[in-house]
Assembly symmetry: C2
Homo-oligomer: 278 residues x 2
Amino acid sequence: MKLDRYKSIALLDSGVGGLTVAREIMRQLPYESIVYFGDTARMPYGPRPHEQVRGFVSEIIEFLYTQEIKAIIVACNSATAACSDYYRNGVGLPMLGVIEPGVNAALRYTVNKRVGVIGTTGTINSGAYQKVFQRLAPDVELFEQPCPLFVLIVENGLVATREAYRVAEEYLQPLKEAGVDVLILGCTHYPLMMDVIQEVMGPEVKLVSSAQETAREAKMILEEMALISPNKAGLPLHRFFVSGSARPFIEIATKLLGREVIAYQVVLDQKTSFFDLD
Amino acid sequence: MKLDRYKSIALLDSGVGGLTVAREIMRQLPYESIVYFGDTARMPYGPRPHEQVRGFVSEIIEFLYTQEIKAIIVACNSATAACSDYYRNGVGLPMLGVIEPGVNAALRYTVNKRVGVIGTTGTINSGAYQKVFQRLAPDVELFEQPCPLFVLIVENGLVATREAYRVAEEYLQPLKEAGVDVLILGCTHYPLMMDVIQEVMGPEVKLVSSAQETAREAKMILEEMALISPNKAGLPLHRFFVSGSARPFIEIATKLLGREVIAYQVVLDQKTSFFDLD
């Protein structure tokens, strides 16, 4: 038997956005234990240079390796984009980003082959979505729109405000005009303002949540590798670590996940890295 | 099969002293993974009120519960003494202190039934050793001596100095005069100055290391409960967490354990406790 089946799935994000992926993992894979790392002290990742984000991700993965894990989900589009060249290899474990799962779903849904992507400035400027579409479906016309304020709206609890709606209208207008029939929420924070986005885009546009699609793909990969935790493994043990203060994270995560959350602040940058992704 | 076998053994201490227990666990149980917590930000525990130490231990155990553990060793005599009334029950896992293992060993070795115990002021004043001896061997005459400076000598790397020898002579004189034939090192720091203590006491006095005896007893308990990690579990994963800065701990631990050490600083007191030992 594979003992690794009983290990945990690791998720990392710049903050709370990856919790949408965690929530989907809990829903789709209810027997899996989750170790979550939110780099709240250094969020947002969106505007940061890729080199720096890669360094952060490397530090976080080094920490996650202390946690008996069997797979790593980079539950952050900015981090996935920054690490896109190498995140699938070289860490000794199956590693999954949030970009390809969303693209795969969009290709299943689009009829008119006009697909929109919204994300942080870092994600959009990285061209990460363009590269994946060019590889998987060069005939699809892609319309991209950075929405830098969305992360801050979500992290500050402002989703249900009039300003949020106005900002969404402003950002999404070019995509409506382009006539996309699928819109990828290319940031794990965006499912938290899905209602606003759907209302602005109109009911005929299919929204693709990276979170949901990534959890689905994680499940497929774990199944293929015989790494699914069996029912009889007992109650899953979810634990959360953050680089910033634990209290505000606990509040948001408790609300978002609808369950009690155990979270600790961990200081990451006190030792030189023995592990390097590059 | 018991899956818990593959979980880790947790050790907690006020600082680096418990590393002597960790080292013995690594030696006697080479397939076991260790999670170590050193409360370096709040050490020493010796002079603190028991109530406060109990609160600290409770916080640490709450953290250790996030780490997939199968047993807890309170690898600190002061903490064991502070929690002596209840540490064996109520945490849902086998839990072992460092006092009883040392007493059991002393009873095996003593011929003249005159046993010495050295420890921190907190441990000695707690009467914890007296209680255990009274219960297990009321005929043994006990001679106790607090040695508060020893922890500071060890933590500051001063073991091999002339002052350390002078301090040891001062502390140990009454025990020599009492004619003990066994001396319990009733603090997990003390094995680190065993040579000095042995030289002062003379070769005919048998020194009992809590660390060695505790590892031996942990092994017995895990064997009885069928919780020993099998050889085929793969390389053990040792990880260390501290409440203070990680760097100085890493330096000491690397030297003491003779291997590379992964350690992170964790902030403990940011959430109210959902778990309470009392």
